[in-house]
Every structure is written in C-alpha cells, then in structure tokens.
Symmetry: C2
Subunit: 345 residues, 2 copies
C-alpha cells in the first residue's frame, strides 16, 4: 500500500474516483498496522478499540473551514499536516499520548484529485510524526466550501490530565517556544504586513502553516506531575491565559517584555512597534502555556533541560479579584491590547 | 440549566453571542451529569474518559453538509435530531451501547440565533433518547454553507462487535422495520413524486427526517450473539448488502417481493410501479441489515419477539463466485435496478 500518489493527470477530479475510491486509495493506507489495541478499524460502521486498563482515553476535535481557517489556494499538503497538528497540540496540552484519529472531509465534486492526494500525503506525514493511526471517518460531497474535521484520541495515566482549572495564586506562568510567529506569518500572507527579510518571511510562514505540536513537552510535564494548569495557545496568548484564569477562578499578570520572541518576530517588532499587541492576541501558536508552583520551578527546569524546546517564565497567577482578568505589563506599566483574541463570529 | 431557549428575538444572529456564548448557553447543558466514567468534560483541551475494563470502545463519525445532506430551509430541530440519530444507527449496527459524543458545527455569522437554539434543542432531545452525553466539540464560523460533524462513542463487550465481514454462504438475510420510506419522503420533498394521501405524505416525511436508530435491536442481537454480519442501511439496501458481501467475500440474492414495506410505501408502489427500484437504492433507512445462519433463525425469532420492531427475512447469502454481487429477484425472475446506491460525488 506504500505510496498514495495515484495520478499525474492533474485535471482529474475526485468525482472520477467516487467516495469509496477516495477512501480506499487515499485514506485506507493511513491506518497503521501492528496496533494490538485496534480491534476493528476502517471499513465497518464504527471502529473498536481496546483501552489498556491502566490508561484513560482523551478525545478532542477540531474543524477547519475553507475561507475561515484556510484560503482556497492553501497548499493541500500543508493543510493536511495542520489538520493533524492542531489536534496533536490539544493532546499535548492534556499531557496525553496521541494514538488514533478519525477524519471527516467534505469536498466539492470539482476538487482536483491531485488536491486530495496532496492533502492525504500531508495527513500521512503528520500522523507518522507521532505514530497516530487513522481508524475511521467520513468522506462526502460539499456544494460549497471544503470542510475538514478531525477527531483525535490518546491515552493518559489515571488522574494525570493537565487541566485548565488547576492554576493557583502565586503560580509562575510559563510558555514554550516563541509567541507571535504564526500571527505575523498570517498577517504577511494577508498583505497586512511587509517583512523585509526573505529568511524571516519564510520562517514566519512556516510557523503559521506547520505548527509544531509540543507532544514531548506535554508528556514530560505530565510524567513528572510538576505543573498545575495547562492549555495550548490557539486563540492567542492573552485569551488562552484568560481561559486558564476563568477555569481556575484566578487572575494573572504577564510581562510583555518577557514573552519569548523568535529572531524574525523581534525584527518585525523592531521595525514596527505597534505589532506588539498582535503577538499575544493573534493566536495559532500551538505552544504550551502552563502554571507552576514557585517551589516547583527548579524541578521544572531540570525536567525540561533535556528537551529540544525552550520554556520561558512570563508572569504570575494572582488572586481572582472581582473577576478573572489578565493584566499585561510592559516595563512595569499597564499595556493596553489592541484586540483580545481570535473572534470566531 | 434546564431549558436552552434563550431568546424570542428571532432576528438576532449567533454573532451576538460569539463562539463561547454559543457553547456555554446552547451546548454546555447537553453534557449529562452523574457519569462516573467522564473524568474531564467540555471546556478543556480534550475530554477524558475512563473506559470500564470489561468493555471495548466503539467510535464512529458522520458529517452533514448543507446542500448535500440537508437543504438551507431544513427544520433545524429535526436536523439536530438527525445528526444524533445517524450516529446512533452506526452504534446499533455494531451492537454497541452509545454513551458520549462530540459535535463540530460551522455556521455563517448571519445564522439566526433561533436556528442555533432549535438545532441544539433537536440534538438534546435525540441525545436524551439513549442517555448520550455531549462531552466536547468545536464551534466555528463558516464563510459558506453550514457544516456539521458528530463523533459518537459507545461501549461493547469483548469480541462482541457485529462486523460487515462475518457473513457466510447459506446465511439468511434479514432486515428490520420497513425499507424505502425515507427515499420516498425525500423524493416527495424534492418534488419528484406526488403522494396523494396526506397521512402517507406525513408518514414518509417523518421517516426521512426522523430516522429511528435500532439501538435496542442491535443490543439484543449482540447480547445473544445470534447473528453473523450486520450493517445499518444508509446507502440503500442493495448497496449496503453489497458492502457486506464485499467485506465477507460472498454474494447475495434478495427477493424484492419480500422486502418489508410500510403501508404508505406500498400505496406509492401500487400507484407507480417504477418506484420499486428506488425503495432499495434510495438509502437513509437506518434499519439494520444482518445475516443469520439457518440453524439460528428460530432462536432469532424468539430473541426479537419481545422487541418493538419487526424483522423480515428477504434473501440469502451465496458463495462469492467471480466477484461479490447482489442479485435482486422478483417472483423468481432477475430484476434490474434503476441505480445502485447513493453516490456522494
């Protein structure tokens, strides 16, 4: 079943294959082999899994709509990758080990077969990163836009979920990697921003199109039980910290100048200071944002020292006060955000 | 949280509530309470489930697209119901007990709030039928059509799945309920068919809009381990029997005059004999189609006698021959179908 490239006839549409042809040729090969826990896979009315008795099941879902989450001319290979990676990021936030997924895909009949092939190739590459198996789904026609939905399932030890609701006043706030790259990549793509350096442009676009789910970090944090609350940054650093605050009944303060930036993002802010708000409101960073009791910070440093990802302390958790809020401070002075998080409607 | 009706302001759109408002007011209440197996529910990056150690997990997904699976003016209450019921039907086919679901919903910002309220009310009513809990999902904007995806999970004893692949030559072929009502209801809705009787019109429309998932039958069959192969009829009786044949490496013959029809469908066929093909190719019946060894037919009759659903023997499983095929016979003569199954592209 090795390759999934079917055709060099670039004008052929998916209608030539039909639903079952698409599934059999493009998606059946994405079900891995040798999984003793998979009792029934693709091709029946439902998949059947045996969950190991020491483990809990984690399950998440993400929908990606053409014109909202991606443009009509988006690279289907990268889109396939991103579909998987945003779900992997949710698994990382819970500290779970991803294993299985289902994919629903609605495509106009006029969709080029080459588009579907490239999309499936992107899904395949991203699934291979973390040995995740596609065990079912639904492929159907669309009379309008392309709609993609993926559900992902993973395993987690008993009582080991890293929740949004576990932040405590006094906790230190940490974030992985760098923040704002994806927002800058998107702004550039939409023509709202000109980045002078070609290297910086390429770096920011890659961060937008190909987010790196922090699965190894999530597993290491969960394994050591060193942190309190955790979330992945999808709506924007400020908005997602607010989600932690609301779920935990606390507030938070972050220092803008401590928010870790890539060299490319630093260059962009140096060229145009009014981008600072965008960095922490733009979203789609897919980094982990988490809180740690002060006494555990040293242990955290030891645990994460060997991982291939930096973590940075950016603020602290405060008592809730009248309502949960996130205070952003720059050099000790209150900083007003341009907009607050990704708005879906 | 009892009611989920928010507003009589029928012109208000969902944009007034926003994503989190929609989730909190419409969908959060659909997570049941008192479920000891649900460790983390809605509101975190992923849900967490404890699967009982004697049970396996079954998981399925279905996507419904505006313009393909439902029309723009479809009743949102019935659409919410159907979204749940088609997934319940997959659980029934596996013999699984449905427990949890996730819902992804992409809506244009101009969608009326009353539409979303009615849709959520329909989902709620159908979930309540089988005590299924909504434990997560994704709500997002759409720039085009409405897209709906539901993933459902259930529990099943070890080695108890009712597979498509277990049919044996000599098996008798059975189907539950009546066949073709949904196809006639749809044809009437699309103006392709005029049904004289108002009662018949209403009955057929209801069968199309509000399919009855055969969960109790599926559980009874699984519990007694009396059947071989099983599938739910979504693509059409002939097409789904062919799915069984292909998965099992067999062929089949059915007698058209034995296919169980409702009084309304019988009246329609009596008025227009050329509808006969449509009955077994139209799809969306959501009845169970299953095969039983000859020696087990008597036991089957005893097991199903107390259920509130009829089952009818319509044919038999044959050796495969050169390739898997479904032969349709009417009064002993070969019958040629008008079209074969629901085509998605």
């Amino acid at each position: 079943m090795g390759g999934i490239r079917l055709s060099n006839e670039s004008n052929k549409t998916i209608a030539a294959l039909g639903e079952f042809g698409l599934i059999n040729t493009l998606f059946a090969p994405l079900q891995g082999s040798g999984d003793d826990n998979l009792k029934v896979g693709q091709g029946d009315d439902a998949a059947v899994l045996q969950i190991p008795r020491t483990q809990q099941l984690t399950v998440t879902t993400d929908m990606l709509m053409e014109g909202v989450h991606f443009s009509s001319d988006a690279d289907p290979f990268l889109l396939g990758q991103k579909t998987v990676r945003v779900n992997l990021s949710d698994m990382a936030a819970m500290g779970a080990n991803p294993h299985w997924c289902l994919l629903s895909l609605a495509l106009p009949a006029s969709t080029k077969l080459s588009w579907a092939e490239e999309f499936a190739r992107g899904v395949k590459e991203a699934l291979a990163l973390y040995d995740v198996s596609l065990i079912g789904g639904d492929t159907t026609a669309s009379k309008g836009c392309i709609a993609i939905n993926m559900q992902m399932m993973g395993l987690l030890g008993q009582d080991r979920a890293q929740l949004r609701s576990a932040a405590q006043p006094g906790d230190r706030v940490f974030v992985s990697g760098t923040i704002g790259d994806s927002a800058l990549g998107l702004a550039q793509r939409l023509g709202q921003l000109k980045i002078a350096s070609a290297d910086d442009r390429a770096y920011l676009m890659r961060r937008h199109q190909l987010p790196e789910p922090r699965v190894p970090l999530g597993l290491a944090l969960q394994d050591s039980a060193v942190i309190n609350a955790c979330i992945d940054v999808s709506d924007g650093l400020a908005a997602d910290l607010k989600h932690i605050c609301q779920a935990s009944g606390v507030s938070a303060r972050i220092d803008l100048e401590r928010v870790p930036l890539s060299e490319a993002a630093r260059n962009a802010v140096n060229a145009s200071a009014d981008l600072e708000s965008l960095l922490i409101t733009g979203g789609e960073d897919y980094e982990l944002l988490f809180t740690v009791a002060t006494g555990a910070v040293e242990l955290l440093a030891r645990i994460t020292a060997d991982l291939d990802i930096s973590i940075t302390e950016i603020g602290e958790i405060l008592p809730q006060g009248e309502e949960s809020r996130v205070e952003v401070v720059k050099h000790g002075e209150p900083f007003t955000l341009g907009k607050s998080g990704w708005t879906h409607f």
